[in-house]
Every structure is written in C-alpha cells, then in structure tokens.
C-alpha cells in the first residue's frame, strides 16, 4: 500500500524534527536532510525557505537552526500525533 500523502503542515514538522536532530549540534548536509525527510532536494529547499520566512528556522550567514517558534510547532504536531494514536486513527 502507498503511504498517505503528507500535508504541508506534516512536511514542515518532519523537516523541523530532522533539522533539530541532525543539524543542531552537527554538521550534516542539506542533501542528507532532504533524504531523511523523503523529499526531492528542490522541494525540500522550497519548504526550507518557507520555514525561514515563517520564523521557524533561523539563517545566520550559512548556519541554519530551529527557532523557539519552530520547536513549539513540532511540539504541537507531536500532541496531535499522540491524540490521533490514542483515538486509533494512526498506526
């Protein structure tokens, strides 16, 4: 079975999580992060730019980091995932 297509909000959350786990503190390439999030590189870059514009990822020189707002967003998404799991709506 094909997995359910992710919505934009879920993709944002996946990128932020991957970023937080892999970039904050480590030096991993964006290509690697795009693989982690199962996104083609061009689409990944587009979403990343949107996250920077939304203030969820900060870009200083060439360094990228998840902001407080980004972390709150990830937390909100995790709560939703817990709720859906407890409702038996996601495996």
């Amino acid at each position: 079975l094909k997995p359910e297509k992710r919505g934009k909000i879920q993709i944002y959350s996946d990128i932020l999580e991957a970023f937080y786990k892999n970039v904050n503190g480590n030096e991993l390439s964006l290509t690697r992060i795009s693989h982690t999030t199962n996104l083609p590189y061009d689409r990944f870059k587009k979403y990343l730019d949107e996250l920077v514009q939304l203030g969820m990822v900060s870009r200083q020189n060439e360094n990228l980091a998840v902001t407080e707002k980004g972390l709150e967003y990830v937390e909100w998404n995790r709560k939703t995932a817990t709720f859906l799991r407890r409702m038996g709506l996601v495996p």
């Binding site: 359910e4 919505g7 879920q10 998404n77 939703t80 817990t82 709720f83 038996g88």
Partner: protein
Amino acid sequence: MSTEILVISEFVSTALALVLVYFFSKAYKATGFAYLLGLPIGFSFLALSYILLGASLPYEGGGTIQEVLIWSRLIARSYGFAFIAFTYFFSSKTERATKRFLGIISFFSATLLLFVFGFMVITPPLELPSTAAVDEGFTIANLVFLGYAIYSVVRRLELSKEPIAGLWAPTAFFLLVLNQYSSLIWEIDGSQTSFVLAHCFRIASLLLFIRVYESAGRAKH
C-alpha cells in the same frame, strides 16, 4: 425526567460535541489527511441531532412539527455515527481511497439535502412512516457503526506503551454504544431508567473524548 432537565442535557451534549468538532478540526488541519474530516463532520451531525431532540421536546404531544424534527434527528444522528465509522474505515486506506471518501461525503450530503427537500416540499411529513416505527432500525444501524469504530480502535491499541490512556477512546465509544442500547430499550418499553441512563452515558462519553485530547497535550514525548 422533566422537559427542562432534558433541554439542559441536550444543551450540554451539544456544547461538548461542538468542542470535539473544534479539536478534531485542529487535528485535521495539523495533518492534512482528508479522511480525518469525517470526525468533525460526524460530531457536527451528532451535535445537530442533540439540538433537534431538544427542539422537539416542547412539541411532545405529537403532530407534524415533532415528526419532522424527530425524523431529521434520526437522520442526523445516523449520519454522525456513519461518518465516524467511515473515518476509521478510510484511516488505513491509500490516497486514492481518501479521494473516494471525499466523494462519499459529497454523495451523502446530496442525499441529505434531497431528504430535507422531500420533507419540506415534496412529501408531506405525515405520509412518511411514523418515527416510532423506524427508530429501532436507525438505532441498530448506529450500533453497527459504533461496533466497527470500537473494532478499529481496539485493533490499534498499544496497551504496553499506554496502559490507561490507551483505553480511554475505546471506553468512550463503548459508552456511546451503551447510550444507543439504552435508547433502544427505551424505544421498546418506554422505561424511564433507560432514558435517563442513555443521557448519562452520552455525556460521559463526550467528556471522555475531550479527556483523550486534553491528556494528549500533557503526554511526554
């Protein structure tokens, strides 16, 4: 139970169902999964059915207005449970199935509109079968829908990870089953105890669903 208490009970149930509509809408917005639309739609129909039941109470002597309100309530209630069951059915399906689900929503909505149109314009309500004659059939259908929802939730239970919190959703659905079962008993023998229990089970169930959402916000990840 006096009419005033019943109206208050319907009002409380409506308010609780609308809170759940809000929570489920947020979950849909967060994920973007189309099948999740079934829950806010389902609970909206349930809220509508509670409003219609409350509105029918002042016309307790029978007559056209009460029949129309009760018919509409029966349809809204079954739609509500059907949408909840459909949500579980499509939760394990693919993207193509999700689009089919949206098609079903459109089909059901069109059917509902035709029903309402028939009630109001084409078929005089008094020529329809009495609601007392069909009430049991609707309730049995609701029990089937709820049974499927419980089966789906239990199948995905992870009690080893969350022994208590994992049981709240199936318990809430089970309380809705008891609500429908008590309604069925009341429809058959007119027992006042069953009627009171049906209302208690319903409010307890809606409160428990709210608890599921509220506790997810406090869960450690």
